[in-house]
Structure formats: structure tokens, C-alpha cells
Symmetry: C2
Subunit: 321 residues, 2 copies
Amino acid sequence: MTDELPARVRSGDVPAVARALSVVENDLEAAAALLEGLFDAVGRAHRVGVTGPPGAGKSTLIAALAKAWREDGRRVGILAVDPSSPFTGGALLGDRVRMMGLFGDAGVFIRSLATRGALGGLSRAVHDGADVLDAAGFDPVVVETVGVGQSELAIAGAADTVVVVVAPGSGDGVQAMKAGLLEVADLIVVNQSDREGADRLLADLRAAVDLRETGAKPAILSTTATGAEGDGGVGAVKAAIDAHRAGAAAGGALAARRAARAAARIRDEVDRRRSDAWWPGRARELERLSAAVAEGRTTAAKAAGDLLRAAAKRGAARGKP
Amino acid sequence: MTDELPARVRSGDVPAVARALSVVENDLEAAAALLEGLFDAVGRAHRVGVTGPPGAGKSTLIAALAKAWREDGRRVGILAVDPSSPFTGGALLGDRVRMMGLFGDAGVFIRSLATRGALGGLSRAVHDGADVLDAAGFDPVVVETVGVGQSELAIAGAADTVVVVVAPGSGDGVQAMKAGLLEVADLIVVNQSDREGADRLLADLRAAVDLRETGAKPAILSTTATGAEGDGGVGAVKAAIDAHRAGAAAGGALAARRAARAAARIRDEVDRRRSDAWWPGRARELERLSAAVAEGRTTAAKAAGDLLRAAAKRGAARGKP
């Protein structure tokens, strides 16, 4: 990373943004330094999480929304966190955006995010990446996840506005509601609503939403966002996303949600650093206990307790546990 | 949990196994206590991880394998960790098993595992659940994951033998290889190998495997496991799974892999307990710093550093950091 990278990101320079996102993916230390050069430019963008089961049409809807936002003169940043992108190369969203005639438009920035191994985790990379796009003046910043992995659902749920996309025909919609997506949704979009079963799905979703006891009830909208022609309800979705943010900002919910997101980031970072600091020098102890667990002589939980007790004892002997 | 649950699990009692798995999913403390009553019965089962992209036919193949193992007189335990099961209710594997005529057979135990929220994480629940099935005398214990989420891939990769299932036609196979599944695969199965594109996929996989520089090269097999009729190559897959275990046991690789799995479990448990012990009493500090991050006055990484330095200083003042 060169020292001028933060300045170039803040100026909205697209190659610099691309490079900054690579830093975020690949280099934990450099990412922290980069964000120190950006933080006071972060917080302006509306962060929109879009999630739902595979095949619900998330990419198509996002591409249609991006086109609509472009017509409003807004620069749109999109991070695709598709756990299946190892398999698809994250190509679907790019295809949809090309279809929309947005390819080569410097006002739309798309990137598939992936992290190999730990490196602070996928969640850290996504939040850092969204900060980069935010600081570069993209607004909204959309994070697309396939809401099927534990961590992926958590990532989408940390946005300012969470859009859950479902489609009729597969029974996925109601299952999604049962499975916890209801609790994170600010807006539910029934996509492909011209398909059979849409009316039933809408009725089921309305019934499920009525049962929701805590928090604001999410609005439910229908789209036929094929990306081919017409508005198909996309304008109404865009308006609902904007309205959610305006309402949340006015009522204090936006600030609360951003503080909760920040708290989770801080907790993760502290836990990671404390772990990184604790384990060096304990390799032999861990090896001995791992063999005992692997050979059925103790449990992982007991081994963990043994390690922690031994560390506390050594600490007490030195006067610092 | 009653005190007799471990004894009933060890006797192979199916309702007790079901109850033990609910304990593993829902109660961290009780799960640790339960496993203390089981650990010396753990380690006999062959743990087989089966992963691959959605739609590759994992459930069909597992059901066919289960039938073949039953014919050998083995009792088969299956844990399905399908991150999309929130959407499908995990019903697919159950359907396949019913199709195979294995429904109601006490020698086949199937369970979808899910954990809400943290609770020590999905990985912890899967490993604990596999221990329960192992102690109850199920062997093999199969863990099916859809290899699309970060944590889900890690879970499958922690098995004694890792089977990666791909199917022709979608381009998924080679992408899967590029994305890191190659590194964890002990055996690659090209399922639905009667479909167009199978020859090309096999050739691509062989080329990719030849490029693999470290570790043993995985075998590549073809199946047409429709679950409807005939062997379709399933017997060869079963034989290859058994052969992998025998070879790994003889060469010491099995013990090494089990020790690595145990080490990861111990590390996760230690990290979780240290985190649980550290945060209480720090809520106000975290709240203040979270607001600062949310308002763009600092970064999460800097806030984490501030928290850690403050804790070290207080500790030093008390003579114990």
C-alpha cells in the first residue's frame, strides 16, 4: 500500500478503490492502516443488505436497482458475498449488470469479496470493504449475500436496511421466514411475482409478518424484475429502501443499528487480537492435549479448561495471571 | 439432561441419541457435560465429510452409500449441515433416504443440525454431534455440508475422509477445484456422470489434480447415483472411502488429521471462554467506542486497540494485566 492510497480512494478514483479492496481482502495490517486514512469520510453511504435463498433473483433485482439509482445520479457500490461464488466465480451479478447496460459505467462499482482462511474473517473484510466504497463516495453501498451460511446471514443483517428477496414456487419464502430471515428483514421483496404461487406466498408472508412481535414490521413488495424491460416494481422497492432509511434516521434506529454494527466489529477485533497474543508459546501444550482428545482420553472442553487453568496458575505464580 | 443420558447413548438407544443431539444444539454447558460421559467411547467411527455445490446430488449419493453400508451390517449416522436447510427444512436428504427404503431402519440415523446465533458455533455443534453418533456405535458417521459457506467448508474438511461431489453441466466442478475444494478432497466423485459434459469435467478434474503439489492426490470416480436402480458406481465409492481410511490409518495421516481436528476444537473453546470472561464489565466502554466508530470518529481496529491498552494499564496498576 502506498501512502497516497487513502487520498486517492477519497477522491473516488476507481483503480484506487479496486486496489484498496484487494488490500482489505489480503492484508489485515495494511487494511487497518488504510481505514485509519479513511474513517472520517465513512458513514455517509446508505448500506443496503440484500439476501435470500439461491435463485430468488437477487442479482437481477440489484442490477435493476443500480440502474434506477444511476438515473437519480447516485454512484452505486456493490459487494457480492456469495458463498457459492467459488463455484460460479461471482459471474451472475456481473452478467446482470452488463445486461442493464451498466458495464463500463464508472458510477457502478461491483466486486466479489472472498477471504481465504481466517484473516479476521469474511465479516471483517465485508465491513472494511463497505467502508472503502463509502469513503470513495459510493452511495448506496449494497452488500449481496446468499442468506444460507451462518456468517453470511449475519453480514447482511448488519446493514442499515435489510432487503430479503424470495420467489414463489419453491416453498423457500415461508421457510426463509421461519428460519430467522423475518427477524432481520426491513423489507421483503417477492420477486418473480408473475410466477405461479405468488399470491399464496404473499398471503403466507403477510401472515408471518403479522405474527412478528418485536420491532417494526417489514413492508412486503412484489417485483417482476427480469431485467429485460419495464419497471416491474423496482421503483417502488427503491422508494421503500429510501423510506426505510429516512424513517430509521429520524427515529434513532439507524444510529442504534450502526452502533451495534460497530460494537460487533470491535468485539471481533479484540477477540482476534487476544487470541493471536495468547497462543504463541502454547503449541506443545496444545499438541499434547490434542492427541489426548483425538485418542478419546478426554474432551475438547476439558482440555480447554486444563489449558486455561494452567495459564492462570502460571500467571498467579508470576503475580500476573 | 438426565444423568443416565450418556449411558443410554452408549447403548445405542435411538431416542437417547436424538435427545443428546438436541442437547448439543441447544445447551453449551449440558453438551460439555454430556460429552464427558462419552469421550472414552469416541473415536471408533470413520468420519466421512461429503461436500460440494448445491444440486450436485450429495443427498442422493449419501442415501445410496447408506444403503450399501447397511448391507454390510454397519449402522450409519448422518448429520446434514445444509446452510440452505433454513429454506428447504433439510427435507431433501430425508426424501432420498425414504426413497431408498431406509426410513424406519434404526440402523440409519439422520439429523439436520442447526444452531441459532453463536452458542459456540456451528462447527462446535457438528463435532459434538459426530461424537454423540460415534459413541452410540454408528460407523461411519457422515457429515454432509453444502460447500458454499466459509464455516461449512471447514466443517467438511475436518473429517477423516473428505468426499467432494460435483456434477457436469454447470461449470461448478472446475470452479470448485479452483476455489479450494481440491485441497481438502480425498476423493472426488463426478455424480450424474451420464449427463452431457461429464467427459470434459473428468478431464479437467484430472488435469487440476495433477497440478496439486502437496499432499496425496485425490482419486476421481464417476457415479450415476439416481437412487432409483442399479449400483451406478456407488460400490466403488464406498470401497474408495474405506480404502482411504485404511491407508490413512496405516500411514499415520488419520491420527494427524484427528489431532488437528482436536486442536481446532480446543482452540475454539479456549477463545470462546476467554472472550466470555473478558467482556462482562466492559459494556459502557464498548458502547462509548462503538458510538465513536459509528459516527466516523475512529476505526474499529483503533477502538479495539484502545480497549486492550486500557485493560493492560488497569491490570498493571493492580499488578495483574
